[in-house]
Protein backbone atom coordinates (compact mmCIF):
# COMPACT_ATOMS: atom_id res chain seq x y z
CA UNK A 1 0.00 0.00 0.00
CA UNK A 2 1.49 3.27 -1.13
CA UNK A 3 0.59 6.37 0.85
CA UNK A 4 1.73 9.89 -0.05
CA UNK A 5 0.85 13.47 0.91
CA UNK A 6 -1.53 15.00 -1.65
CA UNK A 7 -0.29 18.55 -1.17
CA UNK A 8 3.18 17.71 -2.51
CA UNK A 9 1.73 16.77 -5.86
CA UNK A 10 -0.20 20.02 -6.16
CA UNK A 11 3.00 21.93 -5.41
CA UNK A 12 4.86 19.97 -8.10
CA UNK A 13 2.21 20.52 -10.75
CA UNK A 14 1.95 24.19 -9.83
CA UNK A 15 5.70 24.58 -10.23
CA UNK A 16 5.64 22.82 -13.61
CA UNK A 17 2.76 24.99 -14.80
CA UNK A 18 4.64 28.11 -13.74
CA UNK A 19 7.75 26.93 -15.62
CA UNK A 20 5.63 26.18 -18.70
CA UNK A 21 3.82 29.52 -18.77
CA UNK A 22 7.08 31.33 -18.11
CA UNK A 23 8.72 29.56 -21.05
CA UNK A 24 5.73 30.13 -23.30
CA UNK A 25 5.82 33.86 -22.67
CA UNK A 26 9.57 34.49 -22.74
CA UNK A 27 11.13 32.12 -25.29
CA UNK A 28 11.52 33.32 -28.84
CA UNK A 29 12.32 30.06 -30.61
CA UNK A 30 9.17 28.25 -31.73
CA UNK A 31 10.49 24.80 -30.75
CA UNK A 32 11.21 26.02 -27.23
CA UNK A 33 7.68 27.44 -27.09
CA UNK A 34 6.31 24.03 -28.11
CA UNK A 35 8.36 22.41 -25.36
CA UNK A 36 7.04 24.93 -22.83
CA UNK A 37 3.48 24.04 -23.89
CA UNK A 38 4.26 20.37 -23.38
CA UNK A 39 5.67 21.00 -19.91
CA UNK A 40 2.49 22.82 -18.91
CA UNK A 41 0.34 20.08 -20.50
CA UNK A 42 2.26 17.50 -18.46
CA UNK A 43 1.47 19.47 -15.31
CA UNK A 44 -2.21 19.24 -16.25
CA UNK A 45 -2.03 15.52 -16.94
CA UNK A 46 -0.21 14.97 -13.65
CA UNK A 47 -3.07 16.78 -11.90
CA UNK A 48 -5.64 14.41 -13.36
CA UNK A 49 -3.55 11.33 -12.52
CA UNK A 50 -2.94 12.14 -8.88
CA UNK A 51 -6.45 13.46 -8.24
CA UNK A 52 -7.66 10.14 -9.66
CA UNK A 53 -5.21 8.25 -7.47
CA UNK A 54 -6.37 10.00 -4.31
CA UNK A 55 -10.05 10.07 -5.23
CA UNK A 56 -12.45 8.89 -2.59
CA UNK A 57 -15.55 9.01 -4.76
CA UNK A 58 -16.30 6.39 -7.38
CA UNK A 59 -15.47 8.63 -10.34
CA UNK A 60 -11.71 8.54 -9.89
CA UNK A 61 -11.26 6.30 -12.89
CA UNK A 62 -12.41 9.12 -15.16
CA UNK A 63 -9.26 11.04 -14.21
CA UNK A 64 -7.09 8.32 -15.71
CA UNK A 65 -9.30 8.19 -18.79
CA UNK A 66 -8.86 11.95 -19.20
CA UNK A 67 -5.09 11.55 -18.85
CA UNK A 68 -5.05 8.97 -21.67
CA UNK A 69 -7.04 11.29 -23.94
CA UNK A 70 -4.91 14.32 -23.06
CA UNK A 71 -1.64 12.50 -23.83
CA UNK A 72 -3.00 11.76 -27.31
CA UNK A 73 -4.22 15.32 -27.71
CA UNK A 74 -0.87 16.82 -26.72
CA UNK A 75 0.93 14.69 -29.29
CA UNK A 76 -1.43 15.98 -31.98
CA UNK A 77 -0.78 19.54 -30.86
CA UNK A 78 2.98 19.02 -31.22
CA UNK A 79 2.51 17.61 -34.71
CA UNK A 80 0.39 20.56 -35.82
CA UNK A 81 2.82 23.04 -34.29
CA UNK A 82 5.77 21.42 -36.04
CA UNK A 83 3.90 21.46 -39.35
CA UNK A 84 3.44 25.21 -38.96
CA UNK A 85 7.14 25.62 -38.08
CA UNK A 86 8.25 23.65 -41.10
CA UNK A 87 5.91 25.54 -43.42
CA UNK A 88 7.14 28.87 -42.12
CA UNK A 89 10.76 27.74 -42.15
CA UNK A 90 10.50 26.92 -45.84
CA UNK A 91 9.17 30.41 -46.52
CA UNK A 92 11.48 32.46 -44.38
CA UNK A 93 14.37 30.35 -43.24
CA UNK A 94 13.83 31.29 -39.63
CA UNK A 95 11.70 30.02 -36.82
CA UNK A 96 12.39 32.93 -34.54
CA UNK A 97 9.07 34.33 -33.38
CA UNK A 98 10.56 37.79 -32.85
CA UNK A 99 11.43 37.97 -36.55
CA UNK A 100 7.90 37.06 -37.61
CA UNK A 101 6.87 40.66 -37.60
CA UNK A 102 5.41 41.25 -41.02
CA UNK A 103 2.03 41.68 -39.31
CA UNK A 104 3.14 44.48 -37.06
CA UNK A 105 2.71 47.96 -38.39
Amino acid sequence: MTALPVAWFLALSGALLAVGIFGLLTRRNFILILIAVEIAMNATILNFVYFAAFATSGTGLSGQAIAVVLIGFAATEVAVGLAIVLGLNRLKGSINVAQANELKE
Binding site: T26, I31, L61, I71, V78, L86
Partner: protein, 162 residues
Protein backbone atom coordinates in the same frame (compact mmCIF):
# COMPACT_ATOMS: atom_id res chain seq x y z
CA UNK B 1 9.83 9.55 6.01
CA UNK B 2 9.30 6.35 4.11
CA UNK B 3 10.74 5.13 0.85
CA UNK B 4 7.86 6.34 -1.35
CA UNK B 5 8.08 9.86 -0.02
CA UNK B 6 11.82 9.95 -0.63
CA UNK B 7 11.29 8.62 -4.15
CA UNK B 8 8.65 11.27 -4.84
CA UNK B 9 10.84 14.11 -3.57
CA UNK B 10 13.72 12.96 -5.75
CA UNK B 11 11.52 12.60 -8.82
CA UNK B 12 9.88 15.98 -8.24
CA UNK B 13 13.26 17.68 -7.92
CA UNK B 14 14.39 16.09 -11.18
CA UNK B 15 11.15 17.13 -12.91
CA UNK B 16 11.45 20.78 -11.95
CA UNK B 17 15.20 20.85 -12.62
CA UNK B 18 15.00 19.27 -16.06
CA UNK B 19 12.06 21.42 -17.17
CA UNK B 20 13.89 24.60 -16.21
CA UNK B 21 17.11 23.35 -17.79
CA UNK B 22 15.31 22.47 -21.01
CA UNK B 23 14.13 26.04 -21.42
CA UNK B 24 17.38 27.71 -20.44
CA UNK B 25 20.26 25.75 -22.02
CA UNK B 26 22.00 27.28 -25.03
CA UNK B 27 22.06 24.42 -27.49
CA UNK B 28 18.68 23.20 -28.85
CA UNK B 29 19.82 19.58 -29.01
CA UNK B 30 20.60 19.68 -25.29
CA UNK B 31 17.09 20.99 -24.75
CA UNK B 32 15.70 17.83 -26.31
CA UNK B 33 17.84 15.69 -24.02
CA UNK B 34 16.57 17.49 -20.93
CA UNK B 35 12.98 17.21 -22.13
CA UNK B 36 13.40 13.47 -22.72
CA UNK B 37 14.62 13.07 -19.14
CA UNK B 38 11.65 15.15 -17.97
CA UNK B 39 9.16 12.91 -19.76
CA UNK B 40 10.75 9.72 -18.43
CA UNK B 41 10.76 11.21 -14.94
CA UNK B 42 7.03 11.95 -15.09
CA UNK B 43 6.41 8.43 -16.29
CA UNK B 44 8.20 7.21 -13.16
CA UNK B 45 5.88 9.38 -11.07
CA UNK B 46 2.88 7.70 -12.73
CA UNK B 47 4.29 4.30 -11.81
CA UNK B 48 4.67 5.57 -8.25
CA UNK B 49 1.00 6.53 -8.34
CA UNK B 50 0.00 2.96 -9.27
CA UNK B 51 -0.95 3.97 -12.81
CA UNK B 52 1.24 1.62 -14.88
CA UNK B 53 -0.81 2.00 -18.05
CA UNK B 54 -0.34 5.76 -18.04
CA UNK B 55 3.33 5.34 -17.25
CA UNK B 56 3.79 3.15 -20.30
CA UNK B 57 1.74 5.53 -22.43
CA UNK B 58 3.83 8.46 -21.24
CA UNK B 59 7.01 6.56 -22.15
CA UNK B 60 5.71 5.60 -25.57
CA UNK B 61 4.02 8.80 -26.65
CA UNK B 62 5.99 11.53 -24.90
CA UNK B 63 9.46 10.11 -24.28
CA UNK B 64 9.28 8.27 -27.60
CA UNK B 65 7.17 9.90 -30.26
CA UNK B 66 7.06 13.53 -29.16
CA UNK B 67 10.79 13.66 -28.44
CA UNK B 68 11.62 12.22 -31.85
CA UNK B 69 9.20 14.65 -33.51
CA UNK B 70 10.86 17.59 -31.78
CA UNK B 71 14.29 16.26 -32.73
CA UNK B 72 13.19 16.02 -36.35
CA UNK B 73 11.87 19.55 -36.18
CA UNK B 74 15.27 20.77 -35.03
CA UNK B 75 17.15 18.71 -37.62
CA UNK B 76 15.07 20.05 -40.49
CA UNK B 77 15.29 23.67 -39.40
CA UNK B 78 18.83 23.66 -38.11
CA UNK B 79 20.47 24.33 -41.43
CA UNK B 80 19.75 27.95 -40.64
CA UNK B 81 19.63 28.06 -36.88
CA UNK B 82 21.97 26.10 -34.68
CA UNK B 83 20.96 27.36 -31.30
CA UNK B 84 18.31 29.74 -30.22
CA UNK B 85 19.06 33.43 -30.08
CA UNK B 86 20.44 34.70 -26.81
CA UNK B 87 17.66 34.69 -24.26
CA UNK B 88 15.71 37.83 -25.00
CA UNK B 89 14.77 40.01 -22.08
CA UNK B 90 12.76 38.10 -19.53
CA UNK B 91 10.03 40.64 -19.04
CA UNK B 92 8.94 41.29 -15.46
CA UNK B 93 5.29 40.67 -16.37
CA UNK B 94 5.55 37.00 -17.41
CA UNK B 95 7.79 36.30 -14.47
CA UNK B 96 5.32 37.95 -12.11
CA UNK B 97 2.40 36.05 -13.70
CA UNK B 98 4.13 32.73 -13.27
CA UNK B 99 5.08 33.61 -9.69
CA UNK B 100 1.53 34.68 -8.79
CA UNK B 101 0.16 31.46 -10.24
CA UNK B 102 2.52 29.45 -8.10
CA UNK B 103 1.79 31.44 -4.96
CA UNK B 104 -1.94 30.97 -5.38
CA UNK B 105 -1.50 27.26 -5.85
CA UNK B 106 0.62 27.02 -2.72
CA UNK B 107 -2.04 29.01 -0.86
CA UNK B 108 -4.61 26.39 -1.77
CA UNK B 109 -2.37 23.69 -0.28
CA UNK B 110 -3.68 24.56 3.16
CA UNK B 111 -7.10 23.21 2.24
CA UNK B 112 -5.85 19.71 1.64
CA UNK B 113 -5.84 16.88 4.10
CA UNK B 114 -2.48 17.35 5.69
CA UNK B 115 -1.73 13.69 6.32
CA UNK B 116 -1.04 11.11 3.69
CA UNK B 117 -3.69 9.42 1.58
CA UNK B 118 -3.62 5.92 0.25
CA UNK B 119 -3.01 5.72 -3.48
CA UNK B 120 -5.78 3.84 -5.24
CA UNK B 121 -4.86 1.48 -7.98
CA UNK B 122 -7.11 0.94 -10.94
CA UNK B 123 -7.23 -2.14 -13.10
CA UNK B 124 -6.17 -1.33 -16.69
CA UNK B 125 -9.08 -3.51 -17.82
CA UNK B 126 -11.49 -1.26 -15.97
CA UNK B 127 -9.79 1.75 -17.53
CA UNK B 128 -10.22 0.43 -21.06
CA UNK B 129 -13.80 -0.51 -20.26
CA UNK B 130 -14.49 3.06 -19.18
CA UNK B 131 -12.67 4.54 -22.18
CA UNK B 132 -14.74 2.57 -24.65
CA UNK B 133 -17.91 2.68 -22.58
CA UNK B 134 -19.11 5.67 -20.64
CA UNK B 135 -16.26 7.92 -21.75
CA UNK B 136 -16.34 6.86 -25.39
CA UNK B 137 -17.31 10.33 -26.66
CA UNK B 138 -13.94 11.68 -25.43
CA UNK B 139 -12.14 9.20 -27.64
CA UNK B 140 -14.39 10.13 -30.57
CA UNK B 141 -13.52 13.80 -30.08
CA UNK B 142 -9.82 12.91 -29.87
CA UNK B 143 -10.25 11.06 -33.17
CA UNK B 144 -11.75 14.15 -34.81
CA UNK B 145 -8.91 16.32 -33.47
CA UNK B 146 -6.30 13.91 -34.78
CA UNK B 147 -8.00 13.64 -38.15
CA UNK B 148 -8.02 17.39 -38.71
CA UNK B 149 -4.51 17.73 -37.32
CA UNK B 150 -3.07 15.06 -39.58
CA UNK B 151 -4.89 16.27 -42.70
CA UNK B 152 -3.85 19.88 -42.18
CA UNK B 153 -0.28 19.08 -41.15
CA UNK B 154 0.29 16.92 -44.21
CA UNK B 155 -1.00 19.72 -46.41
CA UNK B 156 1.23 22.34 -44.83
CA UNK B 157 4.49 20.40 -45.16
CA UNK B 158 3.81 18.64 -48.45
CA UNK B 159 6.06 19.73 -51.28
CA UNK B 160 3.75 19.98 -54.20
CA UNK B 161 2.58 21.83 -57.19
CA UNK B 162 0.39 24.79 -56.53
Amino acid sequence: MNLEELAFLALAAVAVGTSVAALLVRELVHTILWVAVFFVDLSAIYFLLNAPFLGVLQLGVYAGAVTVLLLFGIMVTRKRIFSRDAATGIGPVPLALAAVTFIFLVASLGEFPQGTLTVQSYDPTALSGALFGNYGPWLLLLGLIMMSGVAGAIYLVREGRE
